[in-house]
Assembly symmetry: C2
Homo-oligomer: 125 residues x 2
C-alpha cells in the first residue's frame, strides 16, 4: 500500500476497514456505564455492516464459522451506543449497553481473572 493510502486510512474520514488474511477485524467491547472491558470478538465485513446499520452488535464466530448477533440465543444483547475505529482501521471499539452477562460463562465480563505473580498464577477479581 502506498503512503498516500496509509495516510488516508489514518487521517481521513472514510471508513476503510483493514481486514486480516481471514477477513476479520478485532472488536473490543466495553460497558458504556462502567467503562469495563466486557469481551473481545471479531467482525467480518458483513458483521460490521450489520452492526452499523442496526445498532445491535454482530460478530463473526471463528469457532462456528458463522455470523451471529450477540444475544440471539441467550438474550444477552448489546446495544451499540458508540462505535470507534483505530488509527490503521484494523480494530473497532464498541461502547455498549450490555443486557445480562457478556461472557458465555455467566460472568459479567470475560476478564474475570488477573495475573498476580511473576509465576503467572491467576486470581479471580
Amino acid at each position: 500500500m502506498t503512503t498516500d493510502a496509509n495516510a488516508a486510512r489514518e487521517q481521513g474520514l472514510d471508513l476503510m476497514p483493514r481486514f486480516d488474511a481471514n477477513g476479520l477485524i478485532t472488536a473490543v467491547v466495553t460497558d458504556v456505564a462502567s467503562g469495563d472491558l466486557l469481551m473481545v470478538a471479531h467482525m467480518n465485513d458483513e458483521a460490521l455492516k450489520r452492526t452499523i446499520a442496526s445498532g445491535d452488535a454482530w460478530y463473526w464466530s471463528r469457532s462456528r464459522s458463522e455470523l451471529w448477533r450477540k444475544g440471539a440465543t441467550s438474550g444477552h444483547t448489546q446495544k451499540v451506543v458508540e462505535l470507534r475505529i483505530d488509527c490503521d482501521q484494523d480494530a473497532v471499539w464498541l461502547k455498549v449497553e450490555q443486557r445480562g452477562p457478556a461472557c458465555h460463562t455467566g460472568e459479567r465480563s470475560c476478564f474475570y481473572r488477573a495475573v498476580r505473580s511473576p509465576e503467572g498464577n491467576l486470581v479471580r477479581v
Copy 2:
C-alpha cells in the same frame, strides 16, 4: 482439546495462554486513570513473559516482526497496573499508566474517530 482442558483454561487459576496460528494473543490496553481504550496490540509468549516479569508493556510487532517495549524509542512507556486474561485465554487486558500519547500518530488513544452514519462516515471525537 478435551472438555477438561477447556474447563481448566476457563475456570482454573493457571495461566494457559492460547496463542493463535501466528503465536499471538490480543492485548487490549486501557488507561487506568480515565478508563479509555488506548490501543490494541499483540503479544507472543516472550512479550507476555517480559510484561509479567517487568511491569512494562512489551508487544510483538507484526509489521516489523520484532519484540518491542512500548516507548523504547518514543519514551511513551506503559506501566502495567493490572493484567487480566479472558475466559478462553486468547486475549489480555492491560490497565496502564500511559506516559504521553499511546498512538504513533500523536493522539492520546488510537481510537480518535467514531462511525456516525449508516454510510460509514467517520468523525473525530
